[in-house]
Amino acid sequence: MSAAAEEPNTRAPWALTAPALMLFVGVLLIPLAMTVMLSFHDWGQYKGIEPVFILKNWHEIATDPYYAEMFWRTFRIAILTTLLTALLGAPEAYILNRMDGRWKSFFLLIILGPLLISVVARTLGWALLFGGNNGLVNKLLMSLGVIRSPIPFMFTETGMVVALAHVMMPFMVLSVWAALQRLNPQIENAAMSLGAGPVTIIRRIIMPQIMPGVLSGAIIVFSLSASAFATPAIIGGRRLKVAATLAYDEFLNTLNWPLGAAVATLLLVALVLIVVGSNALIERRYAEVFR
């Protein structure tokens, strides 16, 4: 063996990752830095964007309760969506995991199938079913006399949570599913042989072990819901804005790019803090069990 081969070649890894690194810097880091810088620029109806360094946009966001309301709504919807996916997704994954081989793959396909369909199409489906007087379900229920006026779904937070939960469900199911795969297949029998009933087995043995899966699924669903654009845009529209649709409107309708950039930056920073913070908490809490 030659001496050169024993020396770690420091240049090769850099050279090999250079293309990906350049792409990463070029299309992510630089635009991101520019967006942050943009948030400190000035803007006026007639003068457009002025490349100066001021805190006007940040001051506006901090003091105008309109933005506070917007951000609270964003996180309220994200939290409710996360809870709903966890409450429905975790049992769903558990039931799925207990099914026989053939049914299991069939239902797994049904759960994952929607991921192949555009979020816009899936959300428009809700609009078709519940969209005011012309929504199919509304029409049917009204013609049957069950309800007198359409179910309030469009432009409501409830509607947004339901539609988002539908879109996000596969992420939660997959995450819990992965945790279930790591379960010892005999663990339920072991608990049963020690005298535990089915409820006790789920509460004391299964739940604590799939909790990390539920929590990591929750982080994914929460961050995707808080930054979701298509679903809130279709269900909420202009009437019920969230942070992502607000930033979009500032950019493309008001053309106040600096303010939109400030909203987007704040959303990004808040999300990173929440995700990193909760991840650290989870890792510390479950360090002993899942190393």
Binding site: N184, P185, Q186, A190, L194, G195, E288, V289
Partner: protein, 346 residues
Amino acid sequence: MAYLELDRVAKQFGAQTVVDDFSLSVGKGEFISFLGPSGCGKTTTLQMIAGFLDPTHGAIRLEGKDLTAIHPAKRGLGIVFQSYALFPHMTAAENVAFGLEMRNVPRAERAERVRAALAMVGLAGYEDRHPRRMSGGQQQRVALARALVIKPSVLLLDEPLSNLDAKLREEMQIELRQIQRTIGTTTILVTHDQNEAMSLSDRIVVMSQGKIEQIGTPQETYEKPSSAFVSQFLGKTNDFAATIDRTATPARVTAGSWSAPAPVGLSGPVTVSIRPERIGFGATGLNAKIVTRIFQGNHWLFQCDSECGPAIVIRQNDGERQPAEGEAVHLAWRPEDMSVRSGASA
């Protein structure tokens, strides 16, 4: 009066019969092993006793009561799984305490019994460890303590030692036997390791293809195997084609150039089966040539080419001169050391 009784138990999965006509009486305090190759139905039988599977036919009775009518959670049996199946989110003490909690044992008594159980398996001081931070052997001990602390009527062990390395496995075998002797719990062990079955059990149930081949003490199954399967599965053996001639007086059994007075009963073509350690090199006997000679410390292993086919011989390393490779020898054994079955060998 049998303590645990399996009466003509059978299990079918669809058209496939996994366990067939399994009858066994286990006495109180007895240590029984189900021994057989994988797929012989031994684990299925154990799972029927545990209640994870229902027998298709037959009855399982514990102290005369029908066990199959009782839910597995209420049977009160202690089970140690091959994978241990410890609860990873609980400490060793919490794992052991779980069964007592389910039985509503008061907290103070629970703590005392958990401490005693962990001490019994040699894990005093490990109460607050999580399973993932314990070695395989330690996890095995926790699983054993967890099964024993509930004072089970029967202890079921499903290949409990197969995930341990050889040295640790031997240690655990001795320890397991001592613990079982001390507390006197009726125990059923499922294993594919004949050494494990022989060194631990009072009686061995040798199984093959869902059927019982032989039930007997370790010595009986080894010395007097009832079938070719048993003799081959329990240690090494030599099968030689032989004939019994009843026209001669006294009747003689002959294998090649080896011959001895025949046992009563069989006649015509038979198979004689002799353990390698019971064959010696004599002045007369079966003509053979040493093919390989392997030194194994306390004994020598010879592979020979005899006139009745390949043979293996084990001789104690007792300081005597042993034949060299290529040397012509005569293989001889005492008639009482062989078992004779009718028919030609397979």
